[in-house]
Subunit: 147 residues, 2 copies
């Protein structure tokens, strides 16, 4: 979560990210530690509560000063498919169904490779996915590896 | 998420919270907008990446300056049950299975009412649950209410 207020007023990704994986690919990940062909990752963007915000974008709530989820602000998909995206790096294609309050688009075209995939390829810890920020994935893989 | 660095070095809840609801109670919530008797909410605590942190606790990653999940640091449960907790406000009892790195305790006793329930009762937006910070719950309730 990278608030606008900490990024010169205009962060590339100013919202919270809630990231989900489809159940079949999750089971595959647990067994193998790999994203199977067909994996779908869904990202829900959620704005920060901003009423009475401090200069750094944080707000005071009963639990303390910090950053809190407010409302949905976008929905994106990453889809790994050798059949559908043979020319994309890692066979990953990226889609945005709208970066705004719901409702989102019912359908959309894939984004140009350089929009998402280039940065994912250079910086993501495994197969174009930023698992360095996803403790659930890392822990599940480690737990299975013990067996 | 309330970083220590924004709370005098010692926040009551310095970690990210990932909060889950059991599937049966989720379906009930979608239909009714209420937490059924038997609802279990599970809270996973996740530390912030702190390497090379700024004074406010944020770090610089490829997506910008902000706060990023690092590792599991605790596991807690809230359980609403009139049968088991007839004397607890709202019949909610709270449990901590450890506020540290895994593994967590296999079993634990409920916390004293004043530890959690008092603040939840005074400040949570609905039935001792802080739905003001949970857009998924609010959106699901609103969607069903349209029908």
């Amino acid at each position: 979560m990278t608030p606008n207020a900490l990024n010169g007023g205009e962060a590339p990704f100013p919202e919270f990210h809630s990231v989900y994986i489809d159940p079949v690919s999750w089971q595959h990940w647990r067994r193998t530690g790999e994203f199977r062909d067909g994996t779908v990752l869904a990202k829900e963007l959620v704005t920060l509560i901003s009423t009475d915000a401090h200069p750094d974008g944080s707000t005071d709530q009963v639990s303390g000063r910090g950053y809190f989820m407010d409302n949905f602000a976008g929905f994106e998909i990453a889809y790994k498919s050798a059949k559908h995206f043979p020319d994309e790096p890692g066979n990953w294609a990226y889609f945005s169904f709208g970066h705004h309050t719901p409702p989102y688009a019912a359908a959309t075209k894939k984004l140009p490779t350089e929009t998402c995939n280039a940065c994912h390829g250079e910086n993501a810890a495994q197969d174009y996915v930023f698992i360095q920020f996803y403790p659930v994935l890392r822990a599940a893989r480690a737990a299975e590896a013990v067996n």
